[in-house]
Symmetry: C2
Subunit: 220 residues, 2 copies
């Protein structure tokens, strides 16, 4: 069996929010987890761990929390929908509907992969700056992206969610995560209800890049 | 030309710290940057930008800052080397030597890709928690990982560095980065001096994963 090409996988990785309840075979899940282990981390310390949640009761508890977080976020968002131009209303409405579906079925996802990290094992070079820190994420989210790309390669749907971080103390209780570890994101994983991955909509290089100086758009 | 497979690319992506001065062709660099644009971001806002630095003078200024940061870090590290067991001393010594090489030549890298982000455009769900925040990184480092994997596919060496964040105000001045943007990491990119990418050493799935609860190692 030949592998999915790297560019093909990256350019067709969508946020798949509608998952079938069918279980994910152990060997497939192992490949996806192994892909995460390959990612670079600061000084190769690999300061992340992942709790693979398959237990129905624990998933249901996480799903309830997610639903609460999503309702808060989406109520807000929905209230502003009417102010958007008509073509954007339709697009945003579709995204909200997919988000609603995910929130209603979050706890029934075949797998919830909860990524954790230990700040103490990280050299966080932006921790003293007068802005929110992100550098700890540099030793976590490359592994998460590897896992997402591997899901894409295996035909599994997935999406990167961070709403559960808002309920971290409760999530840590449910999964027995130690005091000195944090949670970075949760990835619902399963086979897609619909077409799954496919074409994506992104800004082009020229809108996201500069050459040598911020005044100088790349390729401009 | 057939693409590098996704698993092959991920499992052979090394931190390549010795780069040749040869320039990176524009079309190759464009593919690598495009790979970054494909990554998922929270609500698809793509709140990151990248400054592609090729200008010799600006690279030299960044290189000087990096060298300062590396010296501080590595002096510390070197001082503790003697306390390690002999086999680890050798390994750590090799890593330090590669780091020294990178620091001595940082400013001569053909390309320095400086990733920036705008906190205001992010929903940072862990910002109020009693620990360092990482979630902003969830909308940056997946793009960085895509760029690294694309470098691997193109035969380019690269490594994720965050030391320059410690000099962020000066870096922003050099590159004209606006007040309300932060810097997340810098990737030196170029063709490798030696073999470049290849086998990597990582902890296995069983050391990094749990099933359902932290008390229960995955596959254990």
């Amino acid at each position: 069996m030949s592998e999915v090409g790297i560019y093909e996988a990256m350019s067709t990785l969508r946020a798949v929010r509608r998952l079938r309840p069918d279980p994910v075979p152990d060997d497939v899940l192992h490949r996806v987890l192994e892909a995460a282990t390959w990612a670079p981390t600061g000084a190769n310390t690999q300061p992340w761990r992942v709790v693979v949640v398959k237990d129905a009761d624990r998933k249901a508890q996480l799903g309830e929390l997610y639903h609460r977080g999503w309702s808060r976020y989406s109520d807000n968002h929905r209230a502003r929908l009417a102010e958007l131009p008509e073509n954007m209303q339709e697009r945003e409405g579709r995204i909200l509907a997919a988000g609603d579906y995910l929130a209603d079925h979050y706890g029934e996802s075949p797998v919830l992969a909860v990524f954790c990290f230990k700040p103490e094992n990280m050299a966080i070079t932006d921790i003293k700056l007068d802005r929110v820190s992100v550098v700890g994420g540099g030793s976590i989210y490359p592994a998460v992206e590897n896992l997402l790309l591997a899901c894409r390669a295996e035909g599994l749907g997935c999406t990167l969610t961070t709403l559960l971080c808002g309920y971290e103390p409760r999530v840590k209780e449910i999964l027995g995560i130690p005091e000195d570890w944090g949670t970075a994101c949760t990835i619902p994983i399963g086979y897609p209800v619909g077409g799954g991955h496919g074409p994506i909509k992104r800004k082009p290089v020229e809108k996201l890049s500069y050459l040598d100086h911020w005044a100088n758009p790349y390729g401009g």
